[in-house]
């Protein structure tokens, strides 16, 4: 199953996170940090190393059991999601802790690598 469905101005969000929100509201909220991160010098090899940590839960051939697929997702979508965990806009404590341990360069490198999978 692919959770890749709500695309608005580069912001893609999962169903559980956008309940009750309209597409317009989302467009207004597009995070300017996404472009800042996209403009950094990003390293896919670093992303690959960092992504090995994610693979313990998010495997590439995920059966989507309690944990969504992140390999092959859109780069900006991934950056946005990780920023939302950092901002506590999403509530999963595990992902908040994981995102909090990442800096902007790491988020960007991860998204670069994962989106290419």
């Amino acid at each position: 199953m692919n959770r890749f469905f709500a695309l608005v101005g580069g912001a893609l969000l999962c169903a559980s996170c956008i309940a009750g929100e309209t597409a317009n509201k989302l467009a207004e909220k597009t995070d300017p940090r996404i472009d800042t991160i996209m403009a950094l010098q990003l390293d896919a090899a670093y992303g690959e190393y960092l992504a090995s940590e994610c693979a313990t839960c998010h495997n590439e051939t995920s059966t989507d059991q309690g944990i969504p697929t992140i390999h092959g997702q859109d780069q900006k979508y991934l950056i946005n999601a990780l920023l939302e965990y950092q901002d506590n806009k999403r509530t999963n404590e595990t992902m908040i802790s994981i995102a909090n341990a990442l800096n902007e360069e790491e988020i960007g490198s991860l998204a670069l690598y994962l989106s290419g999978q």
Partner: protein
């Protein structure tokens, strides 16, 4: 990139740059050899990542005593009747067929660190350029007077998964309403801090499902407190009222010994009697780590927190339960995470691989009831020579049922991901 790798390597080992100016595979002319002892959470992951990321440039041998691997993780769910045994048992076939790993089933009896060889019980020996030890734990049976390997056939520990787990399940299934279980919990440090308490929850779940609500489970603990204590205690009250009792050292005064034939646990203040005893003794690193003289006084192995390299021998990496990994608990998740750091440094050493600052991660889920999952976890980094946590989380006491169910479902996804990450 190779300059960086060699510079870091030199720094760690304190060797002169000259000795390292040529990659190992050029010196030896043949492919560099990486040997992994122990095909569990740490070892299987390390072997897979070295093989996968070197794309055939490194010769990887995995030495594992058993033909299949039964995970300790989710073994409590098997005891509770929530999973079957096959679903927690995994084969090494894909590691051999898809990743080209030379899987050798045998017991590694000896490491010769100067000759850089591992000798198996059958007398054969294998050379290595880099060695990974992930042997898990050995049980110190006599840490509980009266307990022994033989006594474990009557009062199983089931702290190494496989036949012991099946034996405990058989004995649990044979109990009737009103029968009791007494668990002797282990002292720190031991594998899976919440494990004994998840096990008690799953035993109680089994009894409740079978209508055996007059049965009780008593935990005699050598520790004054335990992992996720508040969550477990509240969960037992909610799901299994009156069935679970935890007895701390200030109540029992100290564990004097067990008599497995009589089914008794003697403490300073009282003797506890159970139809079934589950005795989990103290633990230390697996025997091979002791034979190789990599352990310190604690019975476990000191490692460099940047790389998981042994502090005693630069050609050896010790990962998983056998290592002293600072703030990380001994868990399958931790072992898997440490394996990736070790694999990266091994490829840095022998294959000019790029290395990055180590990051480690752990989450331990526990099932209190079906659809009632709780978790504790953290991210870690190497700080001042120690693995220290950089961000942590734990389930809250006031979470609603939907949240607890989501946590339980997450753990199913993790089990799936984790075992694929180990075995391909």
């Amino acid at each position: 990139m190779s300059t960086l790798t060699r510079r870091q390597f030199t720094k760690v080992l304190g060797l002169g740059a000259a000795a390292l100016s040529v990659p190992i595979h050029v010196i030896g002319q043949a492919k560099p050899k990486v040997v992994v002892v122990g095909g569990g959470a740490g070892g299987a992951t390390a072997a897979r990542y070295v093989a996968m990321n070197s794309k055939g440039a490194v010769d990887v041998t995995l030495i594992e005593n058993s033909k299949t691997y039964t995970t300790c993780f989710f073994s409590n769910l098997y005891l509770g009747g929530v999973r079957d045994f096959d679903s927690i048992t995994h084969s090494y076939d894909t590691l051999a067929s898809e990743y080209g790993i030379n899987v050798v089933h045998g017991y590694a009896a000896e490491v010769d660190r100067s000759a850089k060889t591992v000798t198996l019980n059958d007398g054969s020996s294998i050379n290595y350029d880099r060695l990974v030890l992930s042997p898990g734990i050995d049980l110190i049976f006599d840490s509980v007077p009266g307990y022994s390997e033989e006594a474990a056939t009557i009062a199983p520990h089931a702290w190494q998964a496989g036949p012991q787990t099946q034996l405990l399940k058989e004995k649990l299934d044979a109990l009737s309403n009103g029968d009791s279980v007494v668990m002797v919990a282990p002292p720190n440090p031991y594998r899976c801090p919440p494990g004994p308490y998840e096990r008690v929850s799953m035993m109680a779940h089994l009894f409740k499902e079978k209508g055996m609500t007059d049965s009780t489970i008593t935990i005699i603990d050598p520790k004054p407190k335990f992992s996720k204590q508040g969550l477990f205690t509240a969960g037992w009250e909610k799901h299994y009222p009156g069935m679970v009792e935890w007895i701390s050292p200030d109540i029992h005064g100290g564990i004097v010994g067990v008599d497995v034939n009589a089914g008794t646990v003697e403490t300073d203040f009282d003797t506890f009697e159970g139809t079934l005893l589950n005795v989990i003794p103290a633990q230390r690193a697996g025997a091979i780590a002791h034979q190789a003289e990599l352990v310190d006084n604690s019975g476990f192995c000191q490692i460099n927190s940047d790389s998981m390299r042994s502090m005693v021998d630069e050609n050896i990496f010790v990962i998983g339960d056998a290592s002293i990994a600072g703030a990380m608990p001994k868990s399958g998740f931790s072992a898997n995470s440490q394996a990736k750091v070790a694999a990266m440094h091994i490829l840095g050493d022998v294959n000019d691989g790029k290395t990055f600052p180590a990051k480690y991660s752990n989450t331990c889920w526990s099932m209190i009831g079906t659809d009632d999952g709780v978790k504790v976890g953290a991210q870690y980094a190497s700080v001042d020579g120690k693995i220290a946590s950089t961000s942590t989380f734990v389930s809250q006491g006031d979470e609603d049922d939907a949240m607890r169910k989501a946590t339980f479902e997450e753990s199913l996804g993790w089990y799936d991901g984790m075992t694929k990450d180990m075995f391909g």
